[in-house]
């Protein structure tokens, strides 16, 4: 039984489940490090998922779909930035509005363009890596290694590169230092000549791009279709991963992997134990609440997180 659950396939599926959560969570890291709460990640993932499928089916090119998803994410990020940074509106309200907007507009266009509630992906991205030897041919060990490390969608490798870059940018460059200072103590950063507004706009739009990319992975690579509300609360689980990862890229990646393992485990246990499938479906959400509670007292958000910047105080 143990071997049935914990095998190479299990590792691979954990990683696949973790990718969208990690990408969206990283979006949350960028946004909140600059001082803007982004509840709209959920809607950005959903819009990205729809755009990826729609553009792929129209152009027959999944890479164009991925690019479209990123652009739509940036656009929604821009809307969030305008409402929260320029107009200083309540950031949670703006995020909620983006989620409502995304739920409506995706189904709206689904009907308008395809006349259906569910659209299948016509072409997927190629699998990159070593060719998979068929079972029985060659050693099982070599096969397992390939399954675990070298047989994925290009977006999986891209995600790993993005995370390394994000870590370097945030913690090893002057730009990253400025971004973090804007989220911790914007008045001081402003005195040092950092353009608060510009930094926050860039951060929020980056978070939109990452959430859009997460959405494209979800629809193009995981589900191979788009259906309404398919983001399934992942934007919020990603926020939980971000908090558990203490607002750092590597921590967020680790927390996302934890969710990946949890979900993959639940899916596998379903076949072994007689648990109703509905309870299996609850696992990621229960895990998110559990993770949040256990992060209490350990994880401190950036000091200026959620506070609009006012130049003159008083």
């Amino acid at each position: 039984m143990f071997g049935d659950i914990f095998n190479a396939q299990f590792v691979a599926s954990s990683i696949r489940v973790a990718i969208p959560l990690a990408l969206a969570g990283l979006g949350g890291v960028f946004s909140e490090r600059s001082g803007v709460i982004n509840i709209g990640l959920e809607g950005m993932i959903l819009s990205g998922a729809f755009t990826a499928v729609a553009v792929t089916n129209f152009t027959q090119n999944p890479w164009a779909g991925v690019l479209g998803a990123i652009l739509v994410g940036i656009l929604l990020g821009l809307i969030h930035a305008v409402t929260c940074i320029t107009f200083k509106a309540n950031q949670i309200v703006s995020g909620v509005a983006i989620n409502l907007f995304a739920s409506g507009i995706t189904v709206f266009f689904c009907w308008l363009l395809f006349n259906e509630t569910q659209i299948m992906v016509k072409t997927s991205l190629p699998i990159w890596g070593l060719p998979l030897p068929s079972i029985g041919e060659g050693s099982t060990f070599a096969r397992n290694i390939i399954v675990m490390f070298a047989h994925y969608s290009p977006l999986v490798y891209l995600t790993i590169i993005i995370f390394i870059l994000a870590h370097l940018i945030l913690f090893k460059t002057p730009f990253g230092l400025r971004l973090r200072s804007v989220g911790e103590y914007p008045q001081a950063a402003d005195t040092m000549g950092v353009n608060i507004i510009k930094m926050r706009y860039m951060a929020v739009m980056t978070s939109g791009a990452l959430a859009g990319l997460a959405g494209s992975f979800l629809s193009l690579e995981q589900a191979h279709f788009f259906v309404k509300e398919m983001s399934g609360g992942r934007g919020f689980i990603a926020l939980a991963a971000m908090i558990f990862g203490k607002w750092t890229p590597l921590g967020t990646a680790g927390a996302a992997l934890l969710f990946g393992v949890g979900e993959a485990l639940a899916m596998r246990l379903q076949g072994v134990l007689a648990i109703p499938v509905q309870f299996i479906h609850m696992v990621p959400y229960l895990l998110a609440i559990f993770v949040l509670v256990s992060a209490v007292g350990r994880a401190t958000p950036p000091a200026a997180d959620g506070i609009p910047y006012e130049k003159e105080i008083g």
């Binding site: 200083k88 909620v96 919020f236 309870f279």
Partner: protein
């Protein structure tokens, strides 16, 4: 004298910002309709004339407004305590399912016991579900936004499990045809648990009203709950404490008010309001629980509360406006043979929310500037 006049003008402006936001959103909608290649004037005329041009339309509008009054009040009430309850969807699922269960289980009870029992169960179920994020927020400080959303998905799975457990037996026609229930649903609730529709009441008053109209007594329950929310918030000690926590938790704590207690209570009352959606959807309309993935009523409650400026009267008016848009949107969809998808209304609602928050901020800043100059 002149300065006082100007000041009044801005206070008025602050009051009517939601109206400005709605007008802007309708303009955005007009642009979208034109992009699809339809005539916005025709679309809006069809929408409004069918929704509020006759009694049948008004009935349908109020029927659709009723659940939104409940979910809107839920969001508004929690907001007064500084809490964002976006878990109305889940609270409504649990409350509604439990009320349905009571309705088809205790079938021997007379109506004057069973109806209040079902209503109280709906409220209790919602309160129970909202207590979890409330307690977590009060005791550990975990943000209620993420927890309430997670609780929505857990509620959806949990009710799915329950509906399969209490599934209605297949009808003879279904057995003969060898088909199963496409969408799982429970047995119907007892006759004694059903709320009367407005049709027989209006008929006895000699008012002409179509018999098939679904508007029912639940609308009056919703109005009653709105008055109750107003009473609790502005006429009781509890409401005073809840609002004090909403203004400034630190100041409230310093003034001897228990922040934790009020957070939990505000969440539970908010959840109870959301749970009462069941009075309209099951006790007054479907008479059974049908499993669906998110009706959107809980989420639209957020938009209703924001548009209504988190005031019970505003919530009722905003819910009626959304009722008009929803029903009118459905009619437009039929009139244009599906060329205008119903989801246009969802997009409009989201645009209204964005414009409400922006115009609120702009007006606030205008007033602040004005006061500085004066």
């Amino acid at each position: 004298m002149k300065s006082i006049k100007k000041f009044d003008y801005y206070t008025l402006l602050e009051k009517i910002t939601p109206l400005i936001a709605v007008i802007f959103a309708l303009l955005v909608g007009a642009v979208v309709i034109m992009l699809i290649g339809e005539n916005p004037i025709f679309v809006y005329k069809t929408l409004f004339s069918n929704a509020i041009g006759n009694r049948d339309g008004w009935g349908n509008v109020l029927f659709r407004a009723t659940p939104l009054i409940f979910t809107g009040l839920a969001v508004a009430f929690a907001f007064r305590c500084g809490l964002f309850n976006i878990g109305g969807e889940g609270q409504m699922y649990i409350g509604t399912f439990l009320a349905t269960w009571v309705g088809f289980t205790f079938t021997n009870l007379p109506a004057f016991i069973l109806i209040p029992l079902c209503i109280l169960t709906a409220a209790a179920g919602g309160a129970l579900w909202a207590a979890v994020p409330g307690i977590l927020k009060a005791k550990t400080g975990v943000h209620e936004v993420i927890v309430t959303i997670m609780m929505n998905w857990i509620a959806a799975s949990f009710t799915f499990f329950l509906v399969l457990k209490f599934k209605a037996p297949p009808t003879e026609a279904m057995v003969a045809a060898g088909v199963k229930q496409m969408i799982p649903h429970t047995r119907e609730i007892a006759e004694a648990a059903r709320l009367p529709r407005l049709y027989p009441i209006l008929q006895s008053l000699n008012i002409d009203f179509p018999a098939y109209n679904q508007v029912n007594v639940s609308f009056f329950i919703a109005i009653g709950v709105a008055i109750l929310a107003y009473y609790i918030l502005w006429k009781t000690n509890l409401g005073y404490e809840i609002r004090a926590v909403g203004y400034s938790p630190l100041a409230a704590e310093y003034g001897g008010i228990s922040v934790a207690k009020n957070i939990i209570l505000a969440m539970m009352i908010s959840g109870a309001f959301a749970g009462l959606v069941g009075t309209n959807e099951v006790m007054g309309f479907k008479y059974k629980w049908r499993q669906e993935l998110f009706t959107g009523l809980g989420f639209n409650g957020i938009a209703v509360a924001l548009l209504g400026k988190n005031h019970p009267l505003g919530v009722v008016l905003a819910a009626i406006l959304f009722g008009i848009l929803n029903y009118g949107g459905a009619i437009v969809n039929i009139f244009t043979e599906g060329r205008i998808p119903r989801e246009l209304i969802m997009v409009l609602q989201a645009v209204i929310v964005i414009f409400v928050v922006i115009s609120d901020e702009v007006v606030k800043r205008l007033i602040r500037q004005r006061r500085k100059i004066l």
